[in-house]
């Protein structure tokens, strides 16, 4: 048993050591894997805000992940084809500048989170789970049947987007961008969680009536959290498109929602570093089991069931001492 903060520092050191190891051993694949972990951890961190701290289970975060991914893919493909996105009433050109794409991805997925959240937060419990899932499916089917951006086949972007001063096609530079963003996101989330707003959000999870009684509208707090959460997950989606240089409707599928949820729960819900630990473990399991057997998903399912049935509180819950809340 160790303190959660020490455990978090160990996690960061371990995570950072992987790409350096990749550089030393000349194994670029390690760097790609570490980048994938970082990006998925950002997505999980977004979900953790509503699922862990807010206590409402969104099964539709693939929508925000995918929307962020498509914002990046669409802007970049227009820029690479020199074809404006709209020509009337004024011309909007595509761009490959990350400093524009990433905030825009967050803005647009946050906007969708606002619309979806406004409808979904009218319900709670199981209804909330299913209706968020259904909205994500709606976006998914739209992406499949809308032919302009590749439809079912997806959209390839031949080059990663640019970042001033860095060569993003270099794996290590791209990892650094993602890593800095992850630390930034985790910092923001820890500030949110410990602010008045965060306390209201966590109280609304435990007792919405009391929160309402002291003059705070629980739905409003939850909606704001949902929008922030959607924007963060959208950021991860945009980075994921850059990592793969490809985006397809499969990032919008409900498996993605399930996987993001698995990261959060595997690591430990309402733990700041839970999503990072969960995503890392998931990727390690995927690589390790995938190397041993073709049917790795069977064993993954098996391990997940064991974790749910016997390891409450996820990995961090087993290792770290104190429980932060509720």
């Amino acid at each position: 048993m160790i303190k959660e903060n020490y455990f978090n520092i160990i996690c960061i050191i371990l995570l950072l050591s992987v790409p350096f190891l990749g550089l030393i051993l000349d194994e670029p694949y390690y760097i790609t894997l570490a980048t994938k972990v970082v990006i998925l951890a950002i997505a999980g961190a977004g979900l953790n805000l509503v699922l862990g701290y807010g206590g409402f289970v969104s099964f539709g975060h693939a929508a925000f992940f995918g929307i962020g991914g498509y914002v990046s893919g669409i802007l970049a493909s227009h820029a690479l084809n020199y074809y404006p996105i709209i020509e009337w009433p004024f011309i909007i050109e595509g761009t490959t500048q990350m400093l524009i794409i990433l905030p825009l991805a967050m803005l647009i997925s946050g906007g969708f989170a606002f619309l979806i959240g406004m409808l979904c937060l009218r319900t709670s419990g199981v209804y909330f789970i299913m209706i968020t899932l259904a909205f994500a499916q709606m976006v998914y089917y739209f992406a499949i049947s809308w032919p302009a951006y590749g439809g079912e086949d997806g959209l390839s972007v031949y080059l990663r987007n640019n970042f001033p001063g860095l060569n993003t096609m270099d794996g290590f530079s791209f990892f650094s961008i993602c890593f800095v963003l992850l630390i930034f996101v985790l910092f923001i989330i820890s500030r949110i969680v410990n602010s008045n707003f965060g306390l209201a959000l966590q109280s609304a999870k435990q007792n919405p009536e009391r929160v309402a009684a002291v003059g705070i509208e629980p739905i409003k707090v939850q909606l704001i959290a949902f929008v922030i959460s959607g924007a963060i997950t959208g950021l991860a989606g945009a980075l994921y498109t850059d990592l793969n240089r490809f985006v397809s409707p499969s990032v919008l599928s409900w498996h993605t929602s399930g996987e993001i949820m698995v990261f959060v729960i595997l690591g430990g819900t309402a733990r700041l570093f839970g999503p990072l630990v969960g995503a890392a473990l998931f990727i390690i399991l995927e690589q390790f089991l995938g190397g041993i057997t073709e049917n790795w998903q069977f064993w993954l399912g098996f391990i997940l069931i064991i974790v749910v049935l016997f390891a409450k509180g996820g990995i961090i819950g087993m290792i770290a001492k104190e429980r932060r809340n509720g």
Binding site: T123, G125, I131, A134, Q137, N295, F302, V308
Partner: protein
């Protein structure tokens, strides 16, 4: 557009709706009685389809295949309930979602292991191939007609099971107060297993019947599962009546949307963009329907509690 073509689409919508009802009935019962959200319901549908295809190709009889689908899904349901699901009733929805999500991975891989990655095919029996002549000059597939009839029979059977029999009384009692009926001496865990097996068998049957129209493959249960969720959210979770109304509504909306929307947009758009917009919009229709219902009635048409 001729009226007979339209009526044929209505029948297709009905057939789709009836099939969705078979899926949603189990899902909504399991939720109503045990308070469990079961993502692995789609896997039971898949197991039913695989069992039917395997037995039908082995014995050459479609009907034995149908029986096998009921049995296989029910047995799989009982095993899963006793080994895993039983431990989840008292957990929160998050744990249930995660554990049953893991069950999907497990079941899908197991099927791929046993049957390989290629889809299987289930042939429609001789007696049901060909079409049926209905009034107004409608030629309709006998097989699809059978699905509608079977579905309606099962719906009637299920309603009388729940409202007329002793088991039905227990199920309804379990829905309203599970501690109380346990205190009255009903073996609650046996009841739970039975309800779960019943839902599983219905899902398996649906899988087998659809298996003869589409191909039988791994992952076939998941799109249907999500549609079944939409159905029970529209109908109100826990209500069999709601599941029936919701299933028919979703079936008709989806089928007629795909049929009518592209021609509707052709009125004022050029044909190719009308087809694009029409098909994109029609694939979203049922979700729009669900959103509309939830804005109007947040706990579904026949639901009374949103917990």
């Amino acid at each position: 557009m001729s009226i007979s073509l339209f009526l044929e689409q209505v029948l297709n919508g009905l057939q789709f709706g009836v099939m969705l009802f078979l899926m949603s009935a189990g899902l909504t019962l399991v939720f109503g009685v045990m308070g469990l959200i079961n993502l692995a319901h789609g896997s039971l549908y898949m197991i039913g389809a695989f069992a039917a295809a395997a037995i039908a190709s082995w014995t050459g009889s479609f009907w034995l295949g149908l029986v096998a689908s009921l049995m296989a899904a029910a047995i799989a349901g009982v095993i899963v309930e006793i080994v895993i699901i039983r431990r989840l009733y008292k957990r929160d929805h998050l744990d249930q979602v995660l554990a049953t999500f893991a069950l999907i991975l497990l079941f899908s891989e197991a099927m791929r292991w046993i049957f390989g990655a290629f889809p299987l095919f289930l042939d429609v029996p001789e007696i049901l191939s060909g079409t049926l002549s209905l009034p107004l000059g409608i030629e309709y597939s006998k097989y699809r007609m059978m699905i509608i009839v079977v579905g309606i029979l099962i719906a009637v059977g299920l309603f009388s099971l729940i409202s007329k029999t002793r088991l039905g009384v227990r199920i309804r009692a379990g829905e309203s107060d599970r501690e109380m009926i346990a205190a009255l001496g009903v073996d609650i865990s046996k009841l739970y297993t039975l309800v779960f097996a019943l839902g599983a068998a219905l899902a398996g049957l649906a899988g087998a019947m659809v298996g003869a129209i589409q191909s039988v493959e791994v992952g076939m249960g998941e799109p249907v599962l999500i549609l079944a969720f939409v159905v029970i959210v529209i109908g109100g979770i826990g209500s069999i009546k709601g599941a029936l109304v919701g299933a028919i509504l979703v079936g008709l909306t989806d089928t007629l949307g795909r049929f009518l929307l592209p021609s509707f947009f052709k009125i004022f758009l050029n044909p190719s963009s009308a087809t694009d917009i029409g098909s994109a919009l029609s694939s979203m229709m049922i979700y729009i329907l669900m959103a509309a219902v939830l804005i109007w009635k947040p706990s579904g048409l026949f639901g009374n509690n949103a917990k």
